[in-house]
Each structure stands twice: as C-alpha cells, then as structure tokens.
C-alpha cells in the first residue's frame, strides 16, 4: 500500500511536469511578443530589448523553460504582466472562494443526485425513474451559465430574495483570516457575515452543482442497477431481509465503488463549470482570474492558473485512488 501511494505520488509529479512542458510550449506559440505587450504600444526598440533581457526572453527556449520550472518547484508561479502581483499569492487568495463554492455545489449535487439515482434504480421503469432521469438528461443538456442567468433573473432580480453576485455584501465587514468566508465569520463570531455569505452561495452553488448532480444521478442509477442483479442480492432477498436493509447494507456499499471513481471526473467538471459560474455571478475565484487573464493576454497568469488547476485535479484523483484501495478489499496493488 505504501509503495502504491508513493508510486502514485511520483506519477502525479510526472504528469504535472509534462503538463508544465506542454503549457509552456503552447503559450510560447502564441502570437505577439510578451516584451512588447509589457512595454506598451509606443515603447522604443531599446526598451523592448531591455524588458526581453530582464524577463530572460532572449535565452534559448529550453533555458527559459528550466528557469520557469525551477521557480515552480519553489512555489513561485511568476508575476502577472498586468498587475505585477505574484500569481501564486493571487491564486491562493482566490482558491478559498472557488473551493467554498465547489463544496456547496457538491453538497447540492449529492443530496439530490444520489437519492434520485438510488430511487430510479430500485424502482426502475417507474414514473419516478422516468422523471428523474429526464431531469438528469436536461441537466446535462443545459448550459451552466444559462441556468445561472435564469436563477439570477428569477431569485435575484424578479423576487429579489437573493443577491445577484459577489461573495459578500460590501457593507458587511469581515476580518479575513483563512479567507474561507464561512470559517472566518464563524471564528470571529460574525453572524451577519455568515448568513450573508450563505445567501451569496445559494444560487451559484445550484448553477454549478446541476451538471454534477445529473452526472451523479445517472452514474448512481447504472451502478446500482449492476449491483441489484448480483447473486448476493438475490440471496439476501431470499433469506427474508427487508428491502431497505438489502439496499442499504448490500447494494449501496458495493455500488459506491464505481460512483467514487467518477469523483475525479466530477471534480474536473466542477472546475470547468466554475469558470462559467464565476463569470455569471462575478465570483472572485480562480475561474474569473483565468478568463480575465485570457482577455488581457496575460500569459504568465494563464500558465500559472492552468498548472494550479491541473495540480488540484491530480491531487483529487490521487486521493480518490487511495480511498478506493482502502474501500475495496478485493483490490491489491503491487
């Protein structure tokens, strides 16, 4: 087990290393000279040349890559061309926002998608099955950002029940400690900020959680259907166990394993969806950071954020794989 985990961690770094090479090369292919972008439109040739030397852009590509890579290993993703701020600092500041949103989206997806999948499998071909699977299908067919806009329009504008964007109302003070607003407001016993943060979280979480919810419902259903056809379920039923026990103790536990393996995919879906959801709800997360960087052609920020997101996804996959090995005793790793 220890060897397996070690091997997976090494593999993780290898994948990230490859991602970094590809991202580096791709963005070097981009048209436009970064030195010119920094210097501005009317800069003289000497100034551009000076900036190029300062940024190391005059060196060969391989040298440039290794300079960048050495920085990354030290946890330094470089500085933004636009704001001159440290990219790592900005990402770490924004990460709690995206993370809090993703957790709530996942909770929403779980409390609806999971039971819906189970009920659909147990009562297959019932009215309930058709309804929930149709809703799941619509869920994956709808653009996330459009759902966000619709929610905003109904609950934010028309009914005026919930805020139409942002993380916290400007008039409510909150002392940042961890930058997880819910945790910060609990630590500082700031009830007003706590409930205001919750209110801001509701709509974006629903928008972001809908695709994972639909995905989870479909996976849960098919995984449960597979398990429900197994012999041990028939045995459990025929020895007279109540259906609720058969489902909870025999079926669900075994159906969980394939569901869990999709957690990595689900997380990747969330990160992708976050880019759009954050844009709709002007959420100061990693997604809006990437999009703004693309607009501004701020390539170091694009590079850094993509690598950061790849790292997050890789870590999630690793955690899932390790959990998987613990949960399923049939699996042995060399």
């Amino acid at each position: 087990m220890k060897n397996y985990i070690l091997k997976r961690i090494l593999n993780l770094f290898f994948v990230l290393f490859l991602v970094s090479i590809i991202i580096f090369l791709l963005l070097r292919l981009a048209p436009g000279d970064p030195a010119k972008v920094i210097a501005g439109e009317h800069a003289s040739q000497e100034i551009i040349e000076e900036i190029r030397i300062r940024l190391g852009l005059d060196k060969p590509l391989i040298t440039q890559y290794f300079i960048w890579f050495k920085q990354i290993l030290r946890g330094n993703l470089g500085t933004s061309i636009q704001s001159r701020d440290s990219i790592m600092k900005e990402l770490l500041l924004r990460f709690p926002n995206t993370f809090e949103l993703s957790v709530f989206a996942m909770i929403f997806a779980g409390i609806i998608g999971f039971p819906a999948g189970i009920i659909s499998a147990v009562r297959r071909y019932s009215f309930l099955d058709y309804v929930s699977m149709f809703i799941a299908l619509i869920g994956v067919s709808m653009p996330v950002f459009w759902l966000g806009i619709m929610l905003l329009m109904v609950f934010g504008v028309k009914l005026d029940l919930l805020p139409i964007g942002g993380r916290l109302s400007v008039y409510i003070p909150l002392k940042p400690i961890t930058h997880f607003y819910l945790i910060d407001s609990l630590i500082t016993l700031n009830g007003r900020a706590f409930f205001d943060t919750l209110k801001h979280l509701i709509l974006p979480s629903i928008a972001l959680g809908t695709i994972p919810m639909a995905f989870l419902a479909r996976i849960t259903r098919s995984s449960m259907l597979d398990v429900l056809h197994q012999d041990y379920i028939r045995t459990a039923k025929s020895k007279g166990l109540r259906q609720s026990i058969v489902i909870r103790k025999h079926a669900l536990k075994n159906a969980m394993i394939p569901i869990l393996t999709t957690a990595g995919t689900t997380f990747a879906l969330l990160m992708g969806g976050a880019i759009l959801t954050e844009t709709v709800f002007s959420w100061p997360g990693i997604g809006t950071y990437v999009v703004q960087a693309v607009y501004a052609r701020d390539y170091p920020v694009v590079q850094g954020s993509v690598l950061f997101i790849a790292f997050l996804i890789a870590i999630t996959n690793l955690t899932v794989d390790i959990l998987y090995a613990y949960l399923d005793p049939r699996i042995h790793y060399q």
Binding site: V15, V19, M142, P143, L276, R297, I309
Partner: protein, 287 residues
Amino acid sequence: MRQYSALYDTIKYLKKNKGAMLGLLLIVAFILIAIFAPYIAPSSPIEQNLKNNLKPGIWANNPTNILGTDEFGRDLLSRILYGARISLSVGFIAVFIGMLLGGSAGIIAGFFGGKIDEIIMRIVDIMFSLPSILLAIVIVAILGRGLDKAMIAIGITYAPQIARIIRAETLVVKNAEYVEGAKAIGSSSMRTILVHILPNVMSPIIVYATLSTGSAILDAAALGFLGLGAQPPTPEWGAMLADSFHSITGGYWWVETFPGIAIAMTVLGFNLFGDGLRDSLDPKLRI
C-alpha cells in the same frame, strides 16, 4: 450480410426507443431551421432598429416580433433561427476536427504500438487532466478569439477521448485474420489502415460523435458567452446571452431566456439520440 443485419437491428431498436426518436426529431427540426433560416426568419438577424429596442414579444401583443427584440432592436426570433446555423455547424465541424485528429492519433498509436503509442497516449493523458472548457480557453488564448478558432479549440479538446476509443478498437481489429491476410499479401501500412482497419473501428465513434456534437454545441456557447468565440453581431446563441447579460436587471427576461432554450433543446436532441444509439449498439445495455 452481417453488417446489414446489425444495422437493421439497430434501426429496429432505435425506432422503438421513444427518447431516441424525440432526439432525432429535435435534431432534424434544428437542421431544417438552419437550412431554411433565410426563408422562415421574419427579419434580418443583424439589422439594427434602435427605436424598437427591448420590446416584449407576442405575450405583450407584439405580432411583428414574436419573441421580442434585443437591445439593438433586432428581432430575437430571427436571430435565434439564424443562430441554429452557427451552433449546428460549430458542433459538426468541431467534432469532425476532433475525429480527424483523435482518429488518426488513435489508429497510429494502436496500429504501430511501441514508442509512438506511448508518446501519443501520454499526450492524451495530459489533455485529460484538464477540464475540456479550460483546455479550449487556453487554445483560444493562443489562437485568438473568433468562431473559427473556437471550432478548432473545441475539436482539439474532443480528440483525446476519440483517440482512446479508436486505439482500443484498433488493437482488437489489428489482430483479425483479414488484417493479417492483407499484410501477408504485401499491403502497405497506409493501405492496411485505410482499407482494412478504418471501416471496422467506426461504429463506436458514431455514438461518441453524436453525444459529442451536443457537448461541442454547449462548449461553443460557453466560449461565445465568455466572449472568446463568436464575436458580435454574429447571432451565436452563447454570444447573444453575453451581449444582453447586463440588461437582466431591467426585467427584459426574454433576451436571456430564449437563446438558452434553443441551446438546451438542440443539445437535448443530440443527447437523447446519442443515448438511444449507444443502447442499441451495445446489447449489454439493452436491459
């Protein structure tokens, strides 16, 4: 003969699947709308009429603009009808690009094996480690904004999955007797791939292509919404949502509602039909 009966079976099964038929109906309807947009659209999708801006539609007794007008006074229905042309062609072209790239990478990896296989599949793994929309955004960042670039970007993001499927199929077909036979009589690698392998690895790709067309349309709309895909005044559904996003606080709900419904309906069509197609081609799923 066998192929004919398999096809016959598939069609017979599909005909009984109500969901798949509804999906097909939606797809055909949107294709017809796309083709005949100039004839059925009541007015120009681009011509502005600022005096007539943000007018509600038929629900407010406005028979000239059934779905209302946008902030430049353009007829929303006409824009949505023309938008079908863009969304469908983006979907089809992007998936075609993905099939071309992913398909050739997959066949080469599967057929030649060894180092080439390893390198190609490594690249595929890396592309998988990122969410597709992020990958598309990065590619657009490199190529620049625009509808054509968005199509290429989306196509590239679909290539890895297609490469995986085709590679797995190629590995199976490669060892079939007819491929061995072709090699034995001196068929070149190129000829073997094109004549003997390609036709036999296509069927799983058809399902994937159908399902991907739906998500490619979603991704194109997403890029359009982020301002990285189609540029104004192109009547692309995602870009339309972005253009009038700021006007939702004014209560002009129609400008943000109808383009989204159009996207959802089109994608739903492809998903329903794709699901049905997958079930019919995979007998294991016919439960």
